[in-house]
C-alpha cells in the first residue's frame, strides 16, 4: 500500500515538474534584476524587465497585434465553424465523414508545410506583411480544433428535439436559435477558446507571412532569444505577459463553464 502511494506521488510529481519547471525558470528570469552566473538564485528581484519591454515600441505593438488578432481569429473561426459544425453534427452522412477526416488530417500536418504552401501564394497576392491577411492564416490551424468541439456539441443534441420543435411551430432558423444554441453554446465557447489560444500561440505562419511588418508576441519573443544576441530576461518578461492574460481568460471561462454545468438542464 505505502509503496504504491510513493510510486503515485513520484509519477504525478514528474508530470507536474515537467510542466512547472520551465515556468519557474521563466518567472525567475523575468523578475531577476541582478543575477550573476555563479549564483543559484538572483540577488535582486524587481519589475525592471517588465517596464523595459513595455516601454519598447515594438513590443507594445506586438501586444496590440496579438490581442486584436486573437479575438478576430476567434470570431471568424466561429462564424465558419458554427454552421459547418451544425451540418457535420446533425447529418452524419458520407460527405460529413469525408469532410471531417480531411479537416482532422490537417491537425497532423506540420504547420511549416502549410506555410511553405502559403508563402508563394501570399507573395503573389501581395499579402505579405499584412495584418488582415494573418487572420485566415491563423484560422487554418484553429479550424480543426474548433470544428471538432462544435461538431461534437451538435452531435449530442438528439435529433428528435429538432423534430419536435419543428412540429411545435419552429422554423429551421428558430430551431437553431431556440434548441441548438442553448444546448451547444458550451461546445461553441470551448471552440472559441481553442481558436483564441491558437492565434495567440501561432508563430510559424506569422513569422513566414507577417515578419517583419507584423510582429506578434511570439515573434517578438523569438527576436529576443533567437536574434543577434541572447537576452533571456526581456523574453521571459514578455512571455509572462502573454501567459498571464491567456491564463486569466482560460480560468474565467473554465469557471464559468463549470458553474453553468452545475446549473444546466442537461
Amino acid at each position: 500500500m505505502r509503496k504504491q502511494k510513493i510510486w503515485d506521488i513520484l509519477i504525478i510529481g514528474l508530470v507536474v515538474a515537467y510542466i512547472v519547471l520551465p515556468l519557474l525558470v521563466l518567472v525567475e528570469y523575468a523578475f531577476a534584476e541582478v543575477w550573476y552566473a555563479y549564483q543559484l538564485f538572483p540577488s535582486k528581484l524587481g519589475f525592471k524587465w517588465f517596464s523595459w519591454v513595455l516601454e519598447n515600441y515594438d513590443t507594445r505593438m506586438s501586444f496590440i497585434y496579438s490581442y486584436t488578432l486573437a479575438p478576430l481569429v476567434m470570431i471568424a473561426t466561429l462564424a465558419l465553424c458554427i454552421p459547418a459544425g451544425y451540418v457535420l453534427g446533425t447529418r452524419r452522412n458520407k460527405l460529413s465523414l469525408i469532410t471531417e477526416n480531411l479537416v482532422n488530417m490537417n491537425m497532423a500536418l506540420p504547420v511549416i508545410v502549410i506555410g511553405v504552401g502559403l508563402l508563394p501564394l501570399y507573395s503573389r497576392l501581395g499579402l505579405l506583411n499584412n495584418y488582415w491577411a494573418l487572420i485566415p492564416a491563423h484560422m487554418i490551424g484553429a479550424i480543426p480544433y474548433t470544428l471538432r468541439s462544435i461538431t461534437a456539441a451538435f452531435m449530442q443534441v438528439p435529433r428528435e428535439l429538432e423534430e419536435v420543435a419543428r412540429v411545435l411551430g419552429a422554423s429551421k432558423l428558430k430551431v437553431i436559435q431556440k434548441v441548438y444554441i442553448p444546448l451547444t453554446w458550451r461546445g461553441i465557447l470551448a471552440g472559441g477558446v481553442f481558436a483564441f489560444s491558437w492565434s495567440l500561440n501561432e508563430f510559424i505562419l506569422t513569422m513566414l507571412l507577417g515578419f517583419p511588418g507584423v510582429k506578434t508576441l511570439p515573434v517578438s519573443i523569438y527576436e529576443y532569444v533567437g536574434g543577434y544576441y541572447l537576452t533571456p530576461q526581456p523574453a521571459a518578461a514578455l512571455s509572462l505577459l502573454i501567459v498571464v492574460p491567456a491564463i486569466g481568460i482560460a480560468a474565467f471561462l473554465e469557471k464559468y463553464l463549470q458553474v453553468s454545468l452545475g446549473l444546466g438542464g442537461g
Binding site: 423534430e163 420543435a165 412540429v167 411551430g169 438542464g265
Partner: protein, 355 residues
C-alpha cells in the same frame, strides 16, 4: 372538423419500401391506430403526416386541403415522441410554453393555457422542474401537455408509452383514451403493442412491410383477420392448412375444411374470398378450443405435449393430427403430458382465410 386522408403515398429508403399506402382515411375525432412490427412503416406513415418525412409521391390531405408540401411548423399538429423529446434546457413550464411562445401568444393567455393543460394531466406541481428531475411517467405527461396546449388540428403519438414500465403503461393507456375522447381531437397512435392499440384506438390499421393489411375496429381485426399476417400478428395463433370440401351455410359462411392429414373441421370463412376446393388456413387461437365432455360436433382427439402453469391458468401445447395447437384451462385442472384428450373447436369462431 379534421379528416386526414393519405392518397397514393409511397416512400422508399434506399430502394426499400417504407410506406406504400394507396388510400387511408382517418375520420374526424377518431383515435386511429397504426399497428405493426418494427419496420412495418407505421412510424414512417406518421412522420409523413407530421411533415417530418417527405413522401416520394402521393398526397396528404387535411379536410381536403393538400398539405403535402407544407413544412411541419405550418401544420399545427401535436406530436408525442417515444423518447418524449423534452427540451433538456427548459423547465416543464417552458417546454409546454415552447409552441405558444413561437405563436406570439400573450403571456397571460400562455399562463392560462398551461394551467389548463397542467390540470388536465395532473402535473401542476412539476412545472418548474427540468426534464432530468422528472420520472419517465412525468416526462410523458409533460410531453402530452406540450402537444395539446396548442389546440392542434391532430395529435400524433409515436409509441409514447414504450419507455414506461408495464404497470404504468397499462394505466396511462386508459388515461390517454379518456383525454382524447374529452378533447375530441383527431388522433393517430403508432405502436407495436397489440394490447395498447386495442385499449386506446377506435380503429386500427395493421401494417406489414409498408403496406396496410387490414383496417377495422379491434374486434373486427382480431375476430375476422383478413390475411395470414394479421391473424398471426394478433394473439397466440396457430394455423392448420387444408382445403374447403363443402360449403354448409352461405349466410353464416360455415364451411367444412379437410386438413392435409384428412381431418375434417367445421369453421367459418368469408365466402367472397374462398370457395369450394380453395386452399385455406384455419386460424386457431387458444380461446377457440375447450375440453369436450361428450361427443359434440367438431370434437377431436388430441395429445397433450406440454403443460405450463402460468398462475391464473394452465397453458397446453397439444397435437391434433400433425398440427400443434395451444389452449388453456383453469389452473385447478391439470392434465399430464401424454394424455389423450377430447377438444372441441368452436366452428363459429375459427376463421378460414385463403392460403
Amino acid at each position: 372538423m379534421v379528416v386526414i386522408v393519405l392518397e397514393n403515398i409511397l416512400k422508399k429508403f434506399k430502394g426499400v419500401v417504407a410506406a406504400d399506402i394507396p388510400y387511408l382515411k382517418i375520420e374526424d375525432k377518431e383515435f386511429f391506430g397504426l399497428l405493426g412490427p418494427s419496420g412495418s412503416g407505421k412510424t414512417t406513415t406518421l412522420r409523413i403526416i407530421a411533415g417530418l418525412t417527405k413522401p416520394d409521391r402521393g398526397r396528404v390531405l387535411v379536410d381536403g386541403e393538400d398539405i403535402t408540401d407544407k413544412p411541419p411548423e405550418k401544420r399545427n399538429m401535436g406530436m408525442v415522441f417515444q423518447s418524449w423529446a423534452l427540451f433538456p434546457h427548459l423547465t416543464a413550464y417552458e417546454n409546454i410554453a415552447f409552441g405558444l411562445r413561437l405563436r406570439k401568444i400573450p403571456e397571460d393567455e400562455i399562463k392560462a393555457r398551461i394551467k389548463w393543460a397542467a390540470e388536465l394531466l395532473q402535473i401542476e406541481e412539476l412545472l418548474d422542474r427540468y426534464p432530468h428531475q422528472m420520472s419517465g411517467g412525468q416526462q410523458q405527461r409533460v410531453a402530452v401537455a406540450r402537444a395539446i396546449v396548442l389546440q392542434p388540428r391532430a395529435l400524433l403519438f409515436d409509441e409514447p408509452l414504450s419507455n414506461l414500465d408495464a404497470k404504468l403503461r397499462e394505466q396511462v393507456r386508459f388515461e390517454l383514451r379518456k383525454l382524447q375522447k374529452r378533447l375530441k381531437i383527431t388522433s393517430i397512435y403508432v405502436t407495436h403493442d397489440q394490447a395498447e392499440a386495442f385499449a386506446i384506438c377506435d380503429r386500427i390499421a395493421i401494417l406489414n412491410k409498408g403496406k396496410i393489411q387490414q383496417i377495422g375496429t379491434p374486434e373486427e381485426i382480431y375476430n375476422r383477420p383478413a390475411t395470414k399476417f394479421v391473424a398471426g400478428f394478433l394473439g397466440v395463433t396457430r394455423f392448420i392448412r387444408g382445403k374447403v370440401v363443402e360449403i354448409l351455410n352461405k349466410d353464416t359462411g360455415q364451411v367444412l375444411v379437410e386438413t392435409e392429414d384428412h381431418i375434417v373441421i367445421k369453421a367459418t370463412g368469408n365466402l367472397q374470398k374462398i370457395s369450394k376446393s380453395s386452399n385455406v388456413l384455419l386460424v386457431i387461437r387458444p380461446e377457440h378450443i375447450v375440453l369436450a365432455e361428450e361427443s359434440n360436433d367438431n370434437v377431436f382427439e388430441a395429445v397433450v405435449e406440454r403443460a405450463t402453469y402460468t398462475g391464473d391458468a394452465i397453458d397446453y401445447d397439444i397435437k391434433l393430427g400433425k398440427w400443434n395447437l395451444r389452449f388453456k384451462t383453469p389452473a385447478n385442472l391439470r392434465i399430464s403430458p401424454g394424455s389423450v384428450i377430447k377438444v372441441r373447436i368452436d366452428p363459429s369462431r375459427v376463421v378460414v382465410i385463403p392460403d
